[in-house]
Subunit: 407 residues, 2 copies
């Protein structure tokens, strides 16, 4: 994509009232636009990142044997009255109409699956969706980390007995770590024990260490697990050591053994006449985008991991007023497009070299390729990875092979 | 995908209160589930169809040079007060909070583009989104044709002068017809003159002829355009003939020259100091799914066009209790998967041949391949296109080549 085509522009100024790094960089880079507190538009660059995160999550859900659906956001009051949750503060309600807006979907997915699961042969079954959620959040803050409207993946599983849920739950844990590893968050994300709710002592969260985190966790260096402050009693519940490390972290996923909490009120029973056993598993997609920015940035901007960068290559033409440069860089852009590389091409003539390089740092595409009078004298371009200080000259006739190896 | 894996089941009974064919077949086939009046869950088969429609629409929008974004559904009251539309009946409002739910996005997209379009050099620009819309619809009916929650593509364009909008508007018309043609609706879809609003005598709708249509249109056989009853005065406004044909039709798209209706209240002005000229262009994605079902069905079920069928091939194993059949059909399924065909494989042993064929007719996948004892005696499978009466035997070692030509 040509940068002159993009309708967004980078901004030098930090937007007023946005104190979190993720909001500052995502707004300044033209990834998101703030409509209201906790409510953001995804701009072209941001939507590209979000789609890539969605595809990573989707492939892991599919590998779990979960089936993708899309449930409504308008939820009938009666569904939530069945479970006694109509009056929770998280829910936005529609004025004068018997609907609430979905902030989670147990009340919808349970009767839905009930209509199709007719015998033990139909179990276990799991379904997921990637969907916009709405949440009445009095403290909307921290940019994409805590919003009133956000994109989530929610997975629900239904089982005939506890053992079957326990097995599936372990598989979901693995799938979640696959996702964090693909986002380069694997090394700083911990399985974390948190308050369990009705049916188990603990639930599990996935917490990513960053200074922007709103949660405090205690990491056991031996067991490589963490405990949320809300249930921490000074010791690792697994090995008993009291030498845990306190860290700020962002919750990037949670998984719950719900037991019969929602199947019982809907009379969703198995062949033995008892309610089915249920699990639910969430990941905030837009929150993940914000978390990656919090975890991977420097003073100049974002440093995207290759897997979710909006483009793989930022091709930058300098001295574009010179016709030879303009022609050559256009030619290289066309070749890279043909070869299937995802390229953002900064073809803007009205910007100085310095402005272009600053924009490139802010936007944070992993591989930068610069074409200038100087590099063309050597039939070369300059290559530099975002986050690295080293740059190197690459001969133009070697560029495609070089990029095949390095992006 | 194996049919035994799918959590949905077909239903013999028509759901109570659903009188439209699209709702009946889509619910009975397991494409959608009705949560409440005008509110449906997309099930795995339905979501596959919707994603294919979205991709067709997306590719035409991209070809127009429009940039994809995703705007919020929670709309601040102040944006709608700026244009005087806060009190319209279409809008669901949030109880005790200053938000409405987006049923259209002029009030959001106009100030958004205003923040980025800073000079004439930035014009024209167009953006689109594919998004869930909410609409306070007292008469939710006709299944997917008129809902309270539905998926729409909305495109908005901004221009410095009327000529530029007029040119773009013509290009959008062509893109819309490309979309209808790709959905096999091209021959029964008419550009239709409708009431124009503030800035032009007519707006344009796209109307697809079906008996389920809620609109009445008059088709000029000479000009191949239509006139909506709401603005019809007995004559074709283009050639003057009074010999027009009255038909029921579904509105499958609309395009408006908005002029300065929204740019003026937001003071979104061009370099000449006058408000920019704006156009908006909508297509209901889920409504298109419903329209295709209304236009393409028979007494047994849906007849999907190849471009948006949930799968290209329905592979059906009969006599699966016989181990040789089960093994051979499994082998053929694996080969077709490997070759990249999209296959739904009916491997269910508990269903009779008759039940399977009825399900296949209802689900409506374009190409049906049957493996039975009888066909295997001739090292063959039986091939039949949905909507055709003819079937033929295809040798198993010829099957991949046959399908490459025919799906």
């Amino acid at each position: 994509m040509k940068q002159s085509f993009l309708f967004t522009k980078t901004q030098k100024e930090t937007p007023a009232g946005e104190i979190s790094i993720n909001a500052q960089y995502l707004i300044r880079g033209g990834f998101v636009d703030k409509l209201s507190s906790g409510i953001y538009t995804l701009l072209p660059l941001g939507l590209r990142v979000v789609k890539k995160i969605q595809n990573i999550v989707r492939s892991e859900m599919d590998a779990l044997g979960a089936q993708e659906i899309l449930m409504p956001s308008l939820h009938p009051k009666e569904n939530w009255e069945t479970t006694g949750r109509w009056e929770v503060e998280e829910m936005y309600k529609i004025e004068n109409e018997p609907y609430g807006l979905g902030w989670t979907h147990e009340e919808i997915v349970t009767p839905l699956l009930q209509r199709f699961i007719l015998s033990g042969r139909d179990l276990p079954k799991s379904v997921y969706q990637i969907q916009t959620k709405f949440r009445n959040e009095p403290r909307a803050k921290s940019g994409l980390l805590r919003g009133r409207e956000f994109i989530m993946k929610d997975l629900y599983s239904f089982h005939e007995n506890q053992d079957d849920l326990d097995d599936y739950y372990e598989k979901v844990k693995e799938a979640y770590f696959n996702i964090y590893r693909k986002l380069d968050l694997g090394d700083i994300t911990y399985l974390t024990l948190a308050s369990g709710g009705t049916f188990s002592k603990y639930s599990h969260e996935f917490q990513t260490i960053t200074d922007a985190g709103e949660d405090i966790i205690y990491i056991c260096p031996k067991c490589k697990i963490a405990v949320n402050k809300e249930v921490f009693d000074g010791k690792c519940p697994q090995c008993g050591t009291d030498r845990l490390e306190e860290k700020k972290a962002i919750e990037v996923g949670n998984i719950f053994k719900l037991g019969t909490k929602y199947t019982a009120p809907f009379d969703f029973n198995g062949q033995n006449g008892n309610p089915l056993i249920m699990g639910c598993y969430g990941i905030g997609i837009t929150r993940l985008m914000g978390t990656v920015v919090e975890a991977m940035n420097d003073k100049n901007g974002i440093i995207w991991p290759k897997t979710i960068a909006p483009f793989a290559i930022h091709l930058i033409q300098i001295d574009g007023g010179d016709e030879a440069i303009a022609l050559k860089s256009e030619e290289i852009y066309e070749i890279l497009q043909e070869k299937g590389f995802e390229v953002l091409y900064d073809n803007r003539n009205e910007k100085t070299a310095g402005e272009k390089l600053n924009d490139a740092d802010l936007i944070g595409i992993p591989m930068r390729i610069i074409i200038s009078k100087k590099t063309l004298l050597e039939n070369s371009v300059e290559s530099k990875e975002r986050g690295s200080e080293k740059s190197s000259l690459v001969r133009i006739d070697e560029l495609v092979n070089y990029l095949k190896k390095n992006v």
